[in-house]
């Protein structure tokens, strides 16, 4: 019977009770209430809620809900401080608290792209008790009523007017923070601070997977209308009609690029010379692998700066002698701003600059580097780094014991590697090419044809100099179809 409410279009057997509940649900829908949630809600019991909170939430959100849990400083963004009563993801007007359903949804869905997991394994009544408990932590729920924003019906992907959405994106000034192509590289993108005093960045709209409030058109539509309280995103409820908000949302979601996450990077074999420029059409043959990169915590175990580079796409091609990689990543600022001058190449140092290093395990290396988050550490083996930096525009390969020697160019005998790079509208692309088994530098990594080779990446954003973002280890695989005859050649 309750299922009848949840699926109003489904046909149901009509008993009197069913009809009565159907009418009640219809009546409640008329008054703007979501039926099934109300049907299941237990009576609020703060003791039960607190027990559930301490079991599931306190570790990050803190014993008193102030976002000061044991792990809190290792997360970016930080876990929510519930005592302040400011909530980001709502269906209500800016400055008003979220509805109970908004809170229930955040707990149930989690916030993808952040450390807030989904809690679907908790029973629904438990999640509702958590909602009631959260509300008890801030007086705002008594002082102000949630004021749901007016929303229009979803036109659906077939009828959404993305051209209108694009015109709205320009008219409403979205590019000031989010950038012309949505890559969070607008002129006002840096210098934003949230209500909790932490520096923040606008969303990179091409990365739907990092969209914590949800990447579907409805979620985007609500963010536009309600704003994201506590952060910089304002409410556009007075500047846009509910119908136009949908068209804008469909345009924004059309900017999202589908990631191809994998921890195995498949290299494609090419005949003849390998591409050495970022625009070479032969890259179309390569397979793209998206890899997340995470900022390294500082010495006290904290993340203190918002990540500006969150993922790197890798494409790999090879032939008999050499292997070429093309890396693509979003970086909101080009650092240094100009293409490298001859003087910069000579100097090789100076202002903070963008960079990317390809890391491989040196030939004959023993010992494991479990994660680049903790490299270098005592007794860790050296790694083979191919380091590209935007100030010189060059890639140098060296086997080094730490990053500083490579960046500061004090590591011994760096070898110049063929490369090319280009920056456009918030996005870097860089190509490097090296032999499969180079003779120098000494101990350089050998990339195997018939087994996995471990590789990883580290990325620097000159505009965010305190942060170095590192990837997990990937398995680089060079074509799996070598026959005995081919190996014998």
């Amino acid at each position: 019977m309750i299922m009848a409410c949840m699926h109003p279009n489904a046909s149901v057997t009509t008993t009197h009770l069913t009809r009565a509940i159907g009418v009640a649900c219809a009546g409640m829908l008329w008054f703007g209430v979501t039926c099934p949630a109300w049907a299941d809600r237990p009576t609020p019991n703060l003791e039960t809620g607190q027990v559930a909170y301490l079991q599931s939430c306190a570790r990050c959100h803190g014993l008193s809900g102030r976002g000061d849990g044991v792990d809190a400083k290792r997360f970016y963004p930080r876990p929510r401080d519930f005592a302040l009563g400011v909530y980001k993801f709502r269906s209500t007007a800016s400055g008003t608290p979220p509805t109970d359903e908004d809170l229930f949804q955040t707990i149930t869905r989690g916030l993808p792209g952040s450390n807030m997991p989904d809690w679907q394994h908790l029973d629904e009544p438990v999640r509702w008790q958590l909602v009631s408990y959260l509300k008890s932590l801030s007086p705002i729920f008594q002082q102000t009523q949630p004021a749901p924003v007016k929303v229009a019906n979803d036109p659906g992907p077939a009828h959404a007017d993305r051209a209108n959405g694009k015109a709205l994106y320009e008219k409403l000034g979205c590019a000031a923070c989010h950038g012309m192509s949505g890559r969070a590289n607008g002129t006002s993108a840096s210098g934003l601070v949230d209500d909790w005093g932490m520096p923040i960045r606008p969303a990179d709209l091409t990365q739907g997977w990092a969209s914590r409030g949800g990447s579907d058109p409805q979620s985007v539509m609500l963010r536009v209308l309600t704003g994201i309280d506590g952060a910089g995103m304002p409410s556009y409820a007075d500047a846009i009609s509910p119908e136009d908000a949908w068209h804008l949302a469909y345009y924004v979601t059309s900017l999202q690029e589908t990631p191809h996450w994998n921890l195995v990077a498949h290299a494609r074999r090419l005949e003849g010379a390998l591409p050495s420029s970022v625009d070479d059409p032969r890259w179309a043959a390569a397979e793209r692998t998206d890899v997340p990169v995470r900022n390294v915590v500082n010495a006290s175990g904290e993340w203190s700066a918002p990540p500006t580079v969150k993922a790197v796409a890798v494409e790999v091609v090879y032939n008999d002698e050499a292997i070429a990689f093309r890396f693509t990543w979003d970086d909101p600022t080009q650092d240094p701003p100009a293409p490298p001058s001859e003087a910069a190449r000579q100097a090789g140092r100076g202002t903070p600059h963008d960079g990317l290093a390809l890391l491989l395990k040196p030939a004959g290396s023993h010992g494991d580097v479990v994660t680049l988050q903790a490299w270098p550490s005592a007794e860790a083996p050296p790694l083979d780094l191919c380091y590209w930096s935007a100030d010189t525009g060059e890639v140098r390969e060296t086997v080094a014991a730490d990053f500083d020697g490579v960046i500061g160019r004090t590591a011994p005998h760096p070898v110049l590697v063929k490369s090319g790079a280009g920056y456009e509208d918030g996005r870097w692309r860089m190509v490097l090419q090296r032999p499969l088994a180079p003779r120098e530098p000494e101990g350089a990594a050998v990339i195997a044809l018939d087994s996995f080779t471990s590789m990883a990446m580290a990325v620097w954003d000159g505009g965010n100099p305190s942060a170095r973002a590192v990837s997990p280890w990937l398995d680089l695989s060079l074509g799996s179809y070598t026959t005995e005859k081919q190996r014998a050649r």
Partner: protein, 267 residues
């Protein structure tokens, strides 16, 4: 998709009609600013209200001064937005500390902190906060609780009005189009409410919200006047954005004019 319109207006209207019995206070003799106080008859409203005293005739002219050499005013860089840049062909300076050649300090918010009795209904005329040339005008303003507050965008560029009160309801609204107006009001006294724009981080403004009309902001000559005060002893507070707050106690008789001077200095 569920329909998430505002809760149906019909039962809400019924509740509103039932809950608000009695007539509102009459709006006789209401003028703007601190000149007069409207009479409020004893009402049959659910909440008992204290009758206001008769309009006062005392006045307190304020002068704010700055001791010592005035700090240099920073030049505001607006290169992030060409629409802003174009409106300032000559260097534009911060309004954080504005001192004239006679050492008088602008933008000090002065108000009666203690000593008033009675309620003072808010004027109907709005106080306006304007965004022009990517700057807030005025930089410091005073407003009464429940007085209409209009925020206008006079620029052809996106501004967002990010209001961060702690006692009143905060809000963050976008005004992408020139001419857009937002109507707001504060429901509680709060000294001061900060406004900022995320798109143009050099922009900020402060509003002093009080529940009576006896407040002022010193002008470029360091002057403001609290007028129409009933006779009594009052604690006045002066607030400056950089140099903090100071209080003074002053007693005025009916019809008396008593000047008060404030001096701020660098810490």
């Amino acid at each position: 998709m569920t329909h998430r319109r505002l809760s149906s207006s019909i039962p809400l209207a019924v509740l509103v009609a039932i809950g608000c019995g009695g007539k509102p206070p009459s709006a006789s003799a209401k003028t703007e600013g601190s000149m007069e106080v409207a009479q409020a008859p004893a009402t049959s409203a659910p909440k008992a209200s204290v009758p206001t005293p008769a309009g006062g005739t005392a006045a307190i002219p304020i002068t704010a001064k700055f001791a010592g050499p005035a700090p240099a005013r920073d030049v505001i860089k607006m290169s992030a937005d060409p629409v802003c840049q174009q409106q300032h062909p000559t260097p534009f300076h911060s309004e954080e500390v504005v001192v004239d050649d006679q050492g008088r300090l602008k933008n000090v918010f002065v108000y009666v902190k203690q000593g008033l009795t009675g309620t003072f209904p808010a004027p109907a005329t709005a106080v306006t906060l304007d965004q022009a040339g990517c700057w807030y005008y005025p930089h410091i303003l005073g407003i009464q609780v429940n007085q209409p507050f209009e925020i206008v965008n006079s620029d052809a560029t996106l501004h967002n009005v990010n209001a961060k009160p702690t006692l009143n309801q905060p809000f963050n609204i976008a005004q992408p189009v020139k001419g857009m107006k937002a109507k707001k009001a504060f429901t509680k006294p709060e000294v001061m409410v900060k406004f900022k724009c995320n798109v143009h981080p050099w922009m900020n403004a402060y509003a002093g919200v009080v529940d009576h009309p006896f407040f002022g902001v010193t002008d470029e000559h360091g002057s403001a006047t609290l007028s129409g005060l009933p006779a009594g002893t009052y604690t006045l507070e002066a607030w400056h954005e950089k140099y903090g707050t100071q209080t003074q106690t002053v007693t005025v008789a009916a019809g008396e004019t008593k000047a008060v001077e404030w001096t701020f200095k660098a810490q």
